[in-house]
């Protein structure tokens, strides 16, 4: 481990403790009374704790619907958590979002959204889209300066300044994603939440974007929460990786450790499912079984219906995230040494 990382790991920028987000998806009051149903709550995120050091990257991986985006939204203040707190630079982030100088605070945290098309206003030209944060935070004065800055930002993500007058629908998927990255970078944030920023990009552009992000991290000490399905990308980008399953963290480890020795059965399945580039034509093992319904998660360890090592305890008792041999993992089997 490099000394730089060591130094920085001591300064925690973002700390989530026992973060939880419930969505009330219950039927309206009268229906519940008449149909004798209780409230229905979807625990999209259920007690997630982690910290990210300044200048470091935490990656979140996991199946679709496991709550990654929800964590991201909690961090940028789009949702107010049902439970738990987010500390940003020592401050309670959600208090700060509501405080008087929320704007100044917002500027420090930005997000790149999952869907490159939906996250761009279809009626705005790219120039407007990218200029909005600049204007909002007063980062550029004068029309000329603004246009130059926008052009600069576009260039930094590999787009031409001459594309400014076009509308989002006139770009390819990858180009759109770059526009949304340009927008996120406009305010020089310290912490960037990236929700699958490269899923729609081809590898060369992906490389550009990832390199860009890394460069920014190096130059400005940017901190990332990085969400991706692509484990190769995750491995390249992150320092630490959290694996989520049905709203909970099941494993949180240093990336090398995680890839070298995945502990949790789900992590193992995930890594097995990665397509191998160099041996073409070989079918990989897909993850078995269907994702359980998040509204009625299985009792005990929520992974047990798909887990080959599940036993009676797994079916009844919910495992807690514990540090086992330097890795945080929530699994009875690992704890008992069965795997």
């Amino acid at each position: 481990m490099s000394t730089r990382a060591q130094q920085e790991q001591r300064v925690t920028l973002v700390q989530a403790s026992d973060l939880a987000m419930d969505f009330d998806v219950s039927a309206p009051w009268l229906n519940r009374v008449l149909e004798r149903k209780g409230r229905q709550v979807l625990h999209a995120v259920d007690g997630v704790s982690f910290e990210i050091a300044r200048g470091a990257t935490l990656a979140l991986v996991g199946e679709s619907g496991c709550g990654k985006s929800t964590v991201a939204r909690l961090l940028v203040g789009l949702y107010a958590p049902t439970r738990g707190t987010v500390q940003f630079d020592g401050m309670d982030a959600h208090a700060a979002f509501r405080s008087a100088d929320a704007l100044a605070f917002r500027r420090r945290i930005q997000m790149i959204f999952q869907d490159p098309y939906a996250s761009l206003n279809p009626r705005w030209t790219v120039e407007h889209i990218v200029a909005e944060p600049l204007l909002e935070h007063g980062l550029a004065t004068g029309a000329q300066a603004l246009r130059e800055r926008v052009a600069e930002l576009l260039a930094s993500v590999g787009l031409s300044g001459r594309d400014m007058a076009k509308y989002p629908h006139q770009f390819s998927g990858g180009q759109r994603q770059r526009i949304s990255i340009a927008r996120a970078l406009a305010t020089h944030p310290e912490f960037l939440v990236c929700d699958e920023p490269t899923s729609a990009l081809d590898v060369s552009v992906q490389a550009q974007v990832l390199n860009l992000m890394k460069d920014l991290q190096r130059e400005r000490g940017l901190t990332y929460l990085f969400i991706s399905h692509n484990l190769a990308v995750v491995r390249h980008m992150s320092d630490r990786i959290g694996v989520m399953y049905l709203g909970r963290l099941v494993e949180l480890a240093d990336k090398r450790t995680l890839f070298a020795a995945p502990r949790h059965p789900y992590t193992r399945m995930l890594i097995d499912a990665i397509p191998k580039l160099r041996d073409t034509g070989r079918a990989r093992t897909p993850v078995q079984g269907e994702v359980p319904n998040p509204l009625s998660p299985p009792p005990g360890c929520s992974f047990h219906p798909r887990c080959p090592w599940a036993n009676a305890r797994c079916r009844s008792e919910r495992p807690q995230l514990q540090t086992l041999a330097g890795v945080q993992v929530a699994c009875h089997a690992v704890e008992e040494g069965r795997v």
Binding site: V76, L120, P122
Partner: protein, 311 residues
Amino acid sequence: MAETSSTPAAAGVARWLDSDLVHSFRTSPVAVGAALIAFVCLFCAAFAPWVAPHNPFDLSTLELSDARLPPAWSEQGSRKYLLGTDDQGRDILSAVIFGARISLVVGLASVALSVLVGVTLGLVAGFRGGWVDAALMRLCDVMLSFPAILVALLIAGVGRALFPNANEGLAFGVLILSISLTGWVQYARTVRGSTLVERNKEYVQAARVTGVAPLRIMRRHVLPNVMGPVLVLATIQVATAIITEATLSFLGVGSPPTAPSLGTLIRIGNNYLFSGEWWITVFPGAMLVLIALSVNLLGDWLRDALNPRLR
């Protein structure tokens, strides 16, 4: 880009002239035609005293003996009155021009007001949700049950009770208010529906993360994306408002009979359809159709032009 133009203003104009909107306008004959008609209507209405051959609102110039003359080209017609006269001896041509003035003001103002109120409330209801939404929607239900006629009577009654010495200005205020009071509901509902969809889209969330204030998000992001149906309704509503104005004037709420609006002219002329004095209603009617057509065609064009995906 900068080197082609000398001053920033000229550059601005040049860029504007080169913009897609202007271009699509220039290439659409329908839009140009409609704009031309609209312009002529607006011009005539705005400069009515100079354009019209007579001043039909100046009672002292009316001659009862000239009442109900047919258009100039028919046998009994008089050169003095190109399109004939009505039952009071008003020159129809001038009356149409002056009447259009009133109708345009009332029509445009009431639609503008109801769009303003309706869109705002709809946006707020859709964006805030919860009890604000529920309350506003119930308010809509309540408002829907009141026909414009009744609302006008009520408002006029209240207005008169509060300001017994009211002048015409108030009368117009009452008109505009009562037409928009029943008109805004449609906009509110439509906008609310679309807003519910739009507010969950990621571009809105992106703006929130950027720190854009909710009001600004509503205005700059959500609004343009929900305006499509609003434009359809609004352009149609201009004509309806003009007609409603006529009905209300009849009830004694709006413009006095000595200063008839287009709608009033049509309504009065309507009484003379059977007796053969068709010109009293046909010319104002044609004017109204012309105004409605041009507004609607412009609206159609604008809606399509403002939607970048249709270009």
